[in-house]
């Protein structure tokens, strides 16, 4: 269970959001500039809230009153960025293995082959990120986050930098991923995408939560 109740001042813009999510895939929906990325950066620990609490499965990650701020590397929260952010000096295999090495997890060949099969990236292992297409890069980024064995997976518009054709290519992988059962927070400004993936929606508008509930809340909103 993810509990968020935070306020953050960003320039002249104030982000103030509170929700508790039990769903498997929480969709953060809103136009660009609504504060979606700032919100998941706070969940990841990359941004500190000015006030409030973030907790995951009963563990406090941020509590400004108690001066608690767990740094990102101790949160075990995976993050798939819009721009993939693969390490350019490592090949695909080393990128995939990075989280396992940093967390000193034992090698798990079964899990690795399951993830590479799930994402169809087995044939890319020796390539450098510079030699991958946008869709391949995004799939490797997904695999890299999954293999660090996170408790929660954050996805920030993972299809955002892809053209329509590529989106259709990646979407089935995301649906497979959802059915794996890892809780996810999925950020998007595309209602159609969220309708296919999310089980619960948090709607953000100019830094405030304007609606919360099942995917039905999307139909009520103008895109």
């Amino acid at each position: 269970m993810l509990r968020v109740d935070v306020t953050k001042h960003l320039g002249e813009f104030t982000l103030s959001a509170a929700f508790t999510s039990e769903g498997r895939v929480t969709g953060l929906f809103g136009a660009s500039g609504a504060g979606k990325t700032s919100l998941i950066n706070m969940i990841a620990g990359l941004l500190k809230p000015d006030r409030g609490i973030i907790s995951l499965d009963g563990e406090t990650l941020d509590d400004t009153e108690a001066r608690v701020h767990v740094p990102p590397y101790r949160r075990r929260i995976g993050y798939v960025f819009q721009d993939a952010r693969l390490f350019p000096h490592l090949n695909v295999q080393q990128n995939l293995d990075y989280g396992r090495r940093m967390n000193h997890l034992p090698d798990d060949p079964a899990q690795r082959s399951r993830v590479t099969d799930l994402l169809d990236i087995g044939h890319l292992m020796d390539r450098r990120p510079g030699k991958l297409s946008g869709g391949e890069r995004q799939r490797v980024a997904l695999g890299r986050a999954l293999l660090s064995k996170p408790r929660l997976l954050l996805l920030d518009e993972p299809l955002g930098s892809l053209d329509e054709g590529r989106k259709v290519e990646i979407l089935p992988y995301l649906i497979r991923l959802r059915d794996e059962g890892i809780p996810m927070v999925y950020v998007s400004h595309d209602a159609a995408e969220l309708r296919q993936l999310a089980t619960q929606i948090v709607m953000l508008r100019r830094g405030e939560v304007t609606a919360f509930g099942g995917v039905k809340v999307l139909t009520a909103s103008p895109k």
Binding site: A44, P72, Y73, R75, Y79, R85, G99, M102, G130, S148
Partner: protein, 231 residues
């Protein structure tokens, strides 16, 4: 003309030893400092930055004299080091290495700092979300991506160290076999009536060394750009 005499060989080898030791000792310090200047904000940062660059703008003889005052046998640091740790810099080749290290430090730090600044911080953030502690991020992401800049800084620092003259001769004098580097050997030779030919040989050798260092540093800089573009 190209018969190099034993004295000249001694000076060449000593110069190489002094410059290599100076560069190898200065590099870890330079990386730490470059990282601090590139990635951290703290009180006194601009003072520290100015201090690092000071040897670049001070007359070398001033730097050498300050080293002599501090680390000479009667210097406040030098006396303590000699009495307690048995380390003596004055009139030793180690002193020459120290002077060269101090003089080349700004040139060593600058390319390293620039290449650390050029490393995409979003990659460091991504490493953090994958479970890498800050020191792991530095060792596995920042440093490898900045490595060509580190090598370029080392090459530049080495080239500066091998040609250093003013601070070295002020601090450790010009003793053949102990502190006489190529530069101070040339200085002695051109003051000797028939030393021109020998001086000419050493001049050519120092040009060759400096040129190779610059070509190498150019090559590393080009590799750095390619590497950061991820191909």
């Amino acid at each position: 003309m190209f018969e190099i005499s034993p004295t000249e060989w001694t000076a060449i080898l000593l110069s190489l030893r002094v410059a290599i030791v100076a560069t190898l000792v200065a590099t870890p310090l330079g990386i730490a400092l470059a990282w601090l200047l590139a990635r951290r904000d703290f009180w006194g940062k601009s003072m520290l930055d100015a201090l690092v660059h000071l040897p670049l703008v001070l007359p070398p003889v001033v730097t050498g004299y300050l080293l002599l005052l501090a680390l000479g046998r009667r210097g406040f640091l030098g006396a303590w080091l000699a009495d307690h740790l048995g380390i003596v810099f004055a009139f030793r080749w180690t002193g020459a290495a120290l002077a060269c290290g101090v003089m080349s430090f700004p040139l060593l730090v600058r390319p390293i700092r620039l290449s650390i600044e050029a490393v995409d911080r979003r990659l460091e953030q991504a490493a953090g979300t994958l479970g890498a502690a800050p020191w792991q991020v530095f060792l596995t992401v920042t440093l490898p991506l900045a490595l060509p800049g580190v090598l370029a800084g080392m090459v530049l620092g080495f080239a500066k160290a091998i040609g250093e003259f003013g601070a070295t001769i002020t601090f450790v004098s010009n003793i053949p076999g102990e502190t006489q580097t190529i530069s101070s050997a040339i200085y002695s030779l051109i003051q000797t009536p028939d030393g021109d030919l020998a001086a000419g040989r050493l001049v050519i050798i120092s040009i060759v060394i400096a040129m190779s260092a610059l070509v190498a540093s150019e090559w590393f800089a080009r590799r750095a750009t390619r590497r950061l573009h991820g191909n």
